[in-house]
Point group: D3
Chain length 158, copies 6
Amino acid sequence: MNEFSHFDESGRPRMVDVGEKPVTLRRAVAECVLALPDKIYEALLSGGVSKGDPFKTAELGGIMAAKKTPDLIPLCHNIRLGGISVRCGLSEEERAVRIECEATANDVTGVEMEALVGATMAALVFYDMCKALDKGMIIKEARLIEKSGGRSGHWINS
Amino acid sequence: MNEFSHFDESGRPRMVDVGEKPVTLRRAVAECVLALPDKIYEALLSGGVSKGDPFKTAELGGIMAAKKTPDLIPLCHNIRLGGISVRCGLSEEERAVRIECEATANDVTGVEMEALVGATMAALVFYDMCKALDKGMIIKEARLIEKSGGRSGHWINS
Amino acid sequence: MNEFSHFDESGRPRMVDVGEKPVTLRRAVAECVLALPDKIYEALLSGGVSKGDPFKTAELGGIMAAKKTPDLIPLCHNIRLGGISVRCGLSEEERAVRIECEATANDVTGVEMEALVGATMAALVFYDMCKALDKGMIIKEARLIEKSGGRSGHWINS
Amino acid sequence: MNEFSHFDESGRPRMVDVGEKPVTLRRAVAECVLALPDKIYEALLSGGVSKGDPFKTAELGGIMAAKKTPDLIPLCHNIRLGGISVRCGLSEEERAVRIECEATANDVTGVEMEALVGATMAALVFYDMCKALDKGMIIKEARLIEKSGGRSGHWINS
Amino acid sequence: MNEFSHFDESGRPRMVDVGEKPVTLRRAVAECVLALPDKIYEALLSGGVSKGDPFKTAELGGIMAAKKTPDLIPLCHNIRLGGISVRCGLSEEERAVRIECEATANDVTGVEMEALVGATMAALVFYDMCKALDKGMIIKEARLIEKSGGRSGHWINS
Amino acid sequence: MNEFSHFDESGRPRMVDVGEKPVTLRRAVAECVLALPDKIYEALLSGGVSKGDPFKTAELGGIMAAKKTPDLIPLCHNIRLGGISVRCGLSEEERAVRIECEATANDVTGVEMEALVGATMAALVFYDMCKALDKGMIIKEARLIEKSGGRSGHWINS
């Protein structure tokens, strides 16, 4: 089974050599949903928390975490990220925080891991900001939504 | 609403002063479930992947990420972690990887964030090891299971 | 001249051994003033910048930088910070941003460097947020205001 | 007010997408002046401090800090720095340490922040080396002197 | 003596400016030999240690350390590594662990330091995994084996 | 074989829980010898290299690397180091650089890894400073010399 690209033929982990791969424009979008207990949801709705700061802190924390992806994912390359944005918003329907992280790079490897790290860590930053109220927040979903660029082309989570 | 302990009265973020809090034994356990597409699930079951290495890499990556928690969570303290362990296993029933991270410390603040970062990042490390096969893996759940120690005492996610 | 405590008798740098020093409550406050060109000052006054976000980003960035002090100051100890807060505000009189960073720790070494790094880096984060408008912002002053705890006792910048 | 390039139209921070910007040779120079109390100034002049080591340590610390700029400035890109140099010297006229940091890169974004971080952190490293003598050292000025390269062209602090 | 490229003419350290150097394919291989006391050698041979895990942990630790080279070597550039692999194996003849690290990059500077850091740190990770049995393991050799690419061309340690 | 303390009974790596271990004064000393090719040895002897700066840079780099030990050694604890010193000197007899690193801590775990990382990384920093002259420098030995404190008591490499 040589499709597991991070192992060489003897089962040893390696950082895949990308030296010869062409530079193309890469883009990936990941999403994370953090379900909120009533106590937190209502505190956020009633605007008591200095009007939305846990959202801004989570967005900034997610961006900074995405830049640390090669420190966190052992076999990930140090790439030159083009841009990162993180959007956090309250979904009233789901009584949840919905987070989207988009990463782009003009580079030889994809940015899926950066997008996933950014979205997921933004959720944990949000958790940290609100955990004094209730520790029962739960990440209900974190996944890659879409990626483009590179040999494997466009991919959409269907 | 002063229950959001990370904001001072003017809505400004701060790292809460814990200088006077007593040192007690803290423990937290978090869990993460990563659902696997058939292609990956079957490759893992058939043992083709050098017998389980994505699991070991994820465990190690989760431990190392948990140690970086204060770099990732803006208002988290640099504490002296006592121990961290991460367990990853294949859940045949759920066709998923189930990950548990336990963190302990003899310190003045809790270790909930360390446990959550360890479990969640282990899932993303696992994702990275297998994403060449299929990018459709999804974190279905990540949450705190239990914590003990400190003023707020024992807490179990019910 | 053995008062330069970071050099041993042969002029070699060393991280001073603090193993036997008593744990006491330490506190330090540093201040930084960033003078603003008219273009930026007026944009901030007129509230055009989504109501103060460069301030919040700078506060958060200062807190995170203060936690990295031992990575930045070669001979600084890895201490367990008790708390950090950073306050940024517009000083109309000075047409400047005035930043104050307070650090505390219940530890064997002082936290002066943490307070200075937090205040100074918050100013540079603010600079980065506004530099597209005008690169002429200038740090006019950065200094320690006060420290307490430890053998050298209370110190105030007079 | 869309001139604050780090905010998107809804006031949310983002790391600006530079994926399509052309690679050009960038250069920036920043300067920092650290005023010295008499006790330190005279100790340095009399050559008692193993002949200038706080200067070398500050230069090295400034270079290493400049490389960490993307970890310190939340919305700064991870770029591939071409070169960094830091020069620290005693200005007898000002009774101060004068520090200059030059950064260069062949990249898509400017290196102003790297130059400012390098100059400012070198001053704080110097502070740390001498603070056992007197904590009253003060950064009197830290600013960008000059930058070139990129769409905004040559800029000189006048 | 201006052959010490990391010093400028006044003896001041600097990160050499590589902005104008051409991008070429770089490759370097380093090797490290860790001699094992009998107690550890026999434990490893008898397969008692969950079948080789210290080897896998050392390989992964070496890869992650190699990515941190610019944080560890003060005047090293932040480059975009193409690939890293670390191989650890038991040499029965030498009663030692033999480690090889290969680094590649399509960049303007060489990757010798990355290969040396990867091989040497893998040895120390191995040491850490086994030190509870015996602390007498010794690195008997760590050296660059080969490098290619760049102006200085192909080099082999003879 | 449960003497490999970093693995639990199922062969899974873990960071050993030290929460209940007593705080004692720990000390460890490690040594590293870097053999020099003639070209470098003679350049250093003739004092052409701004009088010993590769030594000072290596000492400082070793101290900074030792502080990063928990980032480099996957299962190492984040401890509060008490002090670190690194001494580099030219051994005329061996035509080598001899490096000694001493680490101390008043903590629950030993500091062997910190001492070994400090000594070994100082050697690689020295290598980097001189490699433009000749890449044939070789680490001939790196080992723990002595440790004290903790349950296992005093240990000397005999």
